[in-house]
């Protein structure tokens, strides 16, 4: 029988210095964080760079983590939100952490094929983001989490660090505004919410 450790177990182990446990958390949630960042930045390459910065932030703030039903994803998306808002600082911090760990890698990004394949999706996202800009910021955030990233309302409350009732009311207002603006809420909903 294969036992899968919960995020809580992995987080406890990582906080105790078990780097492989942290690596497993990365394996589990990097994709969701990456796509959240893409929808925020409209740039796959920026999303790539910032994904590692989010996990570095998470590691350094591990004493503050709030798990939602054993899932670290909502809290990681909160970290992602902060990281995007402080983009250049986050990149610089990650760079310094690499330097301190003597890990300044000699790597070059070379994903030309993938980039070409994603140009169309970039265009599609731009249209969706343009529509979202018509919402107030707090309503945008709730739509990003609940509609785009597929979090339920309780997880979104953790991600935004607000009470559940606030999430409910913001989401309700956002949906009302979307209807008034003639914007359909159709979206993907396939993002993981549990470990």
């Amino acid at each position: 029988m294969i036992m899968t450790a919960t995020d809580r177990v992995l987080w406890d182990r990582a906080s105790g210095g078990d780097s492989e446990a942290f690596g497993q958390l990365y394996d589990r949630h990097a994709r969701a964080v990456y796509n959240f960042l893409y929808r925020r930045t409209a740039s796959w390459s920026d999303a790539e760079d910032l994904t590692s910065a989010v996990f570095l932030h998470a590691w350094r703030r591990r004493a503050d983590v709030v798990l939602d039903r054993d899932s670290a994803l909502p809290w990681l998306l909160r970290a992602a939100d902060y990281t995007v808002r402080n983009e250049w600082r986050a990149k610089l911090r990650y760079r310094r952490a690499l330097a301190a760990a003597h890990l300044l890698a000699d790597h070059q990004r070379d994903h030309a094929d993938e980039v070409i394949g994603r140009l169309d999706t970039d265009h599609h996202l731009e249209q969706a983001r343009a529509a979202m800009k018509r919402l107030p910021r707090q309503e945008r955030e709730i739509v990003e989490l609940c509609v785009w990233s597929g979090l339920d309302q309780q997880a979104a409350a953790v991600a935004l660090d607000v009470p559940l009732g606030t999430v409910k009311s913001r989401l309700s207002r956002a949906r009302k505004h979307l209807r008034e603006l003639g914007i359909s809420e159709l979206s993907k909903t396939s993002v993981e919410t549990q470990p």
Binding site: G16, N35, E48, T51, R85, T121, S184, L186, S187
Partner: protein
């Protein structure tokens, strides 16, 4: 009808994912102080370490080294200690402009340092390159290179030992998502290794490490430059508290105090007394939008700290 349908999720490219995973594992090992630790440590030790880490806030790295607060210091707001009685008579900044050859070599060094960044700075034009003639310690930043492309800026700094201390870049084409980028958290804002920006009414900036005399910063084109220490996250090898307590300030390294003076010589900003704190939220200067939430639960433009226009 417009809809909010977004493109399907993608996986990180495999090479990127593998690299980032390896890097993060190595960083965890390094910052926890145990090379390539693969097994969980006893719970008691883990709890003690978490308590230590809790003192280090995101974005405000601790200092390296083991300086002790000297006699004659006084506690200031925010829990920092700053030297008293010597805040107004720093030595004038003695700097020299780098030669063309020195600038070219410095630039190459910086390009090499940033070669794996998404944004290449090779097309940026160098607008300033200089160094302090003398700094108190080799580990302090000593040289700066400022380059610009349109409204985007790139600043690279070098320590006295010749190694690149760090770089920072910002601008509309570099950080389009960072709405706080055009604004400053404080009249004198720290952004990088001994570098920052200041509002137009500031005419003089000093930086001071506890135990040292204040040092006059060079002010040019809205940027200030002063020898400061490259940051890191040193944890005592045998447990205990961090060497330098976190100051919970944005852009001010623990142990350092940044001060700004107006044209009449009046002290108008002292980071130890009214530095921007990580617990607060920040609105744009017009107070129409909250730009940085931090951990504030119900931020509004009216209740958040107002950010400052740069220039």
């Amino acid at each position: 009808m417009t809809d909010l349908t977004t493109p399907p999720d993608h996986d990180l490219p495999r090479p990127v994912r593998d690299r980032q995973r390896d890097e993060l594992v190595a960083i965890v090992d390094h910052e926890f102080g145990a090379p390539r630790r693969r097994t969980a440590v006893p719970l008691l030790a883990a709890a003690a370490t978490v308590a230590v880490i809790a003192g280090l806030a995101f974005g405000v790295p601790a200092l390296k080294g083991s300086r002790t607060t000297p006699t004659g210091t006084a506690p200031a707001a925010g829990g920092q200690k700053v030297a008293s009685g010597n805040t107004s008579a720093p030595q004038p900044a003695r700097t020299r402009k780098l030669s063309a050859a020195e600038t070219a070599a410095f630039r190459n060094q910086c390009i090499e340092f940033t070669k794996d960044y998404q944004n290449s700075f090779a097309s940026f034009e160098v607008i300033n390159a200089f160094e302090y003639v003398k700094t108190a310690r080799p580990g302090l930043t000593k040289s700066w290179l400022v380059a610009r492309k349109g409204m985007d800026y790139w600043i690279c700094s070098r320590s006295g030992d010749g190694s690149i201390a760090g770089d920072s870049a910002f601008g509309p084409n570099i950080s389009p998502a960072g709405k706080d980028v055009p604004y400053l958290f404080a009249p004198v804002d720290g952004r990088g290794e001994g570098t920052g920006m200041y509002i137009p009414s500031i005419t003089r900036v000093t930086v001071q490490h506890h135990g040292d005399d204040p040092v006059e910063a060079v002010l040019k084109d809205g940027f200030w430059f002063a020898p400061m220490e490259q940051d890191s996250f040193p944890l005592p090898k045998n447990g205990g508290r961090p060497i330098t307590p976190d100051n919970h300030l944005i852009g001010v390294m623990p142990g350092w105090t940044i001060r700004g003076y107006a044209g009449d010589g009046k002290l108008v900003y002292d980071s130890a007394k009214n530095g921007p704190r990580v617990e607060k939220c920040y609105s744009n200067p017009a107070r129409t939008e909250v730009l940085v939430v931090n951990s504030v639960k119900h931020p509004t433009p009216a209740t958040c700290e107002r950010m400052f226009d740069w220039k």
